[in-house]
């Protein structure tokens, strides 16, 4: 009899808990709806505003080799959300993607490059590197296919001509100085920014010997600010796969990668919002994985885009109110 009574009470307790939990969930959804109404409607207003009527948005794209194609996916998610992007700064692969985007190329076209990366033969620039050759000839190689890709898509353009203000970062190999390109021939600037040291010969330009900017400024938040951005969103593709590098080239790349990841930790602190696509398993030279990197960028940016919009809305709150 006591046992039956106990069961009866327990049943009531369970039903009560279920009702309370269900009511709490419904209340949570109701409250989230109010946040959603404010975000969506204010976002429409903010994204439609003329650039002069809202804080300017800078996009800082990190280096990362093939992983950097994740930036294309990030751009796609920002595009869906109607995120205004006024200025772009990039390092290494971030400079390539950023330059294509700033030139007016659509995100769809940039993503198409990711899908075709294998056919573009970019990996061959790395595949052709033989340690013995480097020792015997005592000469670094020229990244033929990378240069060809940059020339065919960005050749003939100057940074000043781009549709969006753009900057990219390289390093002077002799002095270790960070060199920020904000004007001049675009192809030269991008080639310098993506020019891996120790493998590819430094690019000689205006008495400077330029190599990949990822060594000194993996995530160019500061450069985005220098372009006049009030609010900076950073896309960071740092990280490395857990496997041990199998040869000299991969070891060198791993060192550059690790250095980049350390710089990213400091660099991204200056950003107002950071998106980090999960591309750690993709190596810098896995150009066959560019499409996968792009998808990873899209997935992560889609997951975070509402928070990014809220962050920018909060930053713009006063100006939004003024514009009403």
């Amino acid at each position: 009899m006591i046992f039956v009574g106990f069961i009866y009470i327990m049943r009531r307790v369970i039903i009560f808990i279920a009702v309370v939990l269900s009511a709490a969930t419904a209340r949570g959804a109701e409250l989230a709806k109010e946040d959603e109404i404010l975000r969506e409607l204010m976002w429409d207003k903010l994204s439609q505003a003329a650039p002069s009527a809202r804080p300017s948005v800078g996009l800082a794209l990190s280096g990362g080799g093939a992983r950097g194609f994740a930036h294309a996916g990030v751009l796609e998610a920002l595009d869906y959300a109607g995120f205004p992007i006024d200025k772009v700064a990039g390092t290494s692969m971030g400079a390539v993607i950023g330059a294509l985007y700033s030139s007016g190329m659509s995100v769809r076209e940039i993503l198409k490059f990711a899908g075709e990366a294998s056919a573009l033969n970019v990996s061959r620039d790395f595949g052709g590197v033989k340690f013995l050759n480097l020792l015997i000839t005592d000469r670094l190689i020229t990244p033929t296919y990378i240069n060809k890709f940059i020339e065919s898509n960005l050749g003939g353009l100057s940074i000043e001509e781009l549709k969006k203000p753009f900057a990219c970062v390289a390093m002077d190999f002799r002095t270790g100085e960070r060199i920020v390109f904000r004007e001049g021939p675009l192809a030269v600037a991008v080639r310098a920014s993506v020019n891996l040291p120790g493998i590819f010969a430094p690019l000689e330009y205006r008495h400077r010997y330029l190599v990949d900017g990822g060594i000194v400024d993996f995530i160019p938040v500061e450069s985005a600010r220098a372009l006049g951005s009030d609010w900076v969103l950073a896309s960071v593709t740092a990280g490395s796969s857990g496997e041990l590098p199998g040869n000299v080239l991969l070891s060198l790349l791993r060192v550059i990668d690790t250095q980049g990841a350390m710089l990213a930790k400091n660099g991204e602190r200056g950003a107002d919002f950071v998106i980090r696509p999960e591309v750690g398993a993709i190596r810098m030279t896995d150009f066959e994985e560019c499409a996968a990197a792009g998808e990873a960028g899209l997935v992560e940016a889609s997951r975070r885009v509402d928070r990014a919009r809220e962050a920018y809305l909060l930053f713009s709150a006063y100006r939004l109110l003024e514009a009403l």
């Binding site: 109701e30 409250l31 989230a32 709806k33 109010e34 946040d35 109404i37 404010l38 975000r39 969506e40 409607l41 204010m42 429409d44 207003k45 439609q48 998610a77 869906y80 959300a81 109607g82 998808e295 899209l298 997935v299 940016a301 889609s302 997951r303 885009v305 809220e310 809305l313 909060l314 709150a317 006063y318 109110l321 009403l324």
Partner: protein
């Protein structure tokens, strides 16, 4: 002895007895019928018991697959997705070409929040049957969950066409995703189809308002929202959305009127809208009081943070 063996070899025996085990096709068929009957009766315990019996006897591949399908569906019907998932995973491994198992496994993955696992399975189903509505819908949902909105659009489009635009819930879901993609044209097109099915649906008016606001037509958006509120007078969120649209359209007094109605006193978003409207109508004291109130209601983190930010930056003055 040799003669006896020779006669035994010549003795006719069903091939399946050698190939698949000891059970005869007839007996297996009877067990399967019993499984089917138990499934129809909703007796999952019996389905599981009979299936085990059937599997012990090593039946034909076809019968085994059918038993797995009953067992999986049984667990699904009893809302035991973890058990159904185990069955479908096993069956999918054994019969990778069978679209039924891929489709069911995909649906469970999607429901459990694993769209990346669901998408390739739905794709597999669609390679076999491109007109499968459930798989088209599932793939659209998986892509939407992952953020692949352009791909999602293609499959939502196929699903609603295959369903002859008759599924109102799916049309609304499709519209919501197109609003998320800021594809106003497609959203308006789908709303048009949905309105043929449900001309008096308040939620559809809300969608129309969102699409109009997305294009910057706030007065039109407010008009749609008013129509929606007439259809669903007690809908508080629609009232809040109307107030915000009035504010964005520049009609601050209309916004104030909506959020000053009874029932809005303790609402954070209503307080924020009041705060902004009072600020625009030149009443800084009321603006500040309302923004302070909204900023204190932390249950709506974004509304509270927005109000706090306005106070910090002088929006309350």
């Amino acid at each position: 002895m040799k003669g006896v063996l020779f006669v035994l070899i010549l003795f006719p025996v069903q091939a399946s007895a050698f190939l698949f085990g000891m059970i005869s096709e007839k007996k297996a068929g009877e067990t399967l019928s019993a499984i089917e009957a138990s499934f129809s009766a909703g007796d999952c315990v019996a389905v599981a018991g009979l299936s085990e019996e059937l599997f012990r006897e090593k039946p034909s591949s076809l019968m085994r697959a059918r038993a797995y399908s009953y067992l999986g569906r049984c667990y699904e019907a009893r809302e035991m997705p973890d058990k159904a998932m185990i069955i479908y995973k096993l069956a999918h491994g054994l019969y990778p070409e069978d679209g039924f198992f891929s489709g069911r496994l995909a649906a469970i993955y999607l429901k459990a929040g694993f769209p990346a696992l669901a998408a390739p399975l739905f794709e597999q189903v669609l390679r076999e049957r491109s007109d499968d509505i459930e798989a088209n819908t599932g793939l659209a949902r998986a892509y939407a969950a992952l953020g692949f909105l352009s791909k999602a659009k293609s499959y939502y489009s196929r699903a609603v066409i295959l369903g002859d635009f008759g599924d109102l819930g799916l049309l609304k879901e499709y519209t919501a995703q197109m609003l998320r993609k800021r594809d106003w044209e497609e959203a308006e097109l789908i709303i048009g189809y949905a309105l043929r099915t449900a001309p008096k649906d308040a939620e559809l008016r809300g969608f129309q308002a969102r699409a109009a606001a997305g294009r910057g037509r706030y007065e039109k958006a407010a008009a749609y929202m008013r129509e929606g509120l007439e259809l669903a007078p007690g809908e508080k969120n629609m009232a809040l959305e109307l107030a915000l649209l009035e504010l964005l359209a520049g009609d601050h007094r209309a916004a104030l009127a909506v959020v000053s109605a009874p029932g809005m006193e303790n609402n954070a978003l209503a307080a924020l809208i009041r705060g902004m409207a009072f600020r625009k109508t030149g009443d800084p004291a009321a603006a500040s009081a309302n923004l302070t109130r909204a900023a204190g209601m932390k249950e709506r983190p974004f509304v509270a943070a927005f109000a706090a930010r306005l106070l910090e930056t002088g929006g309350g003055r």
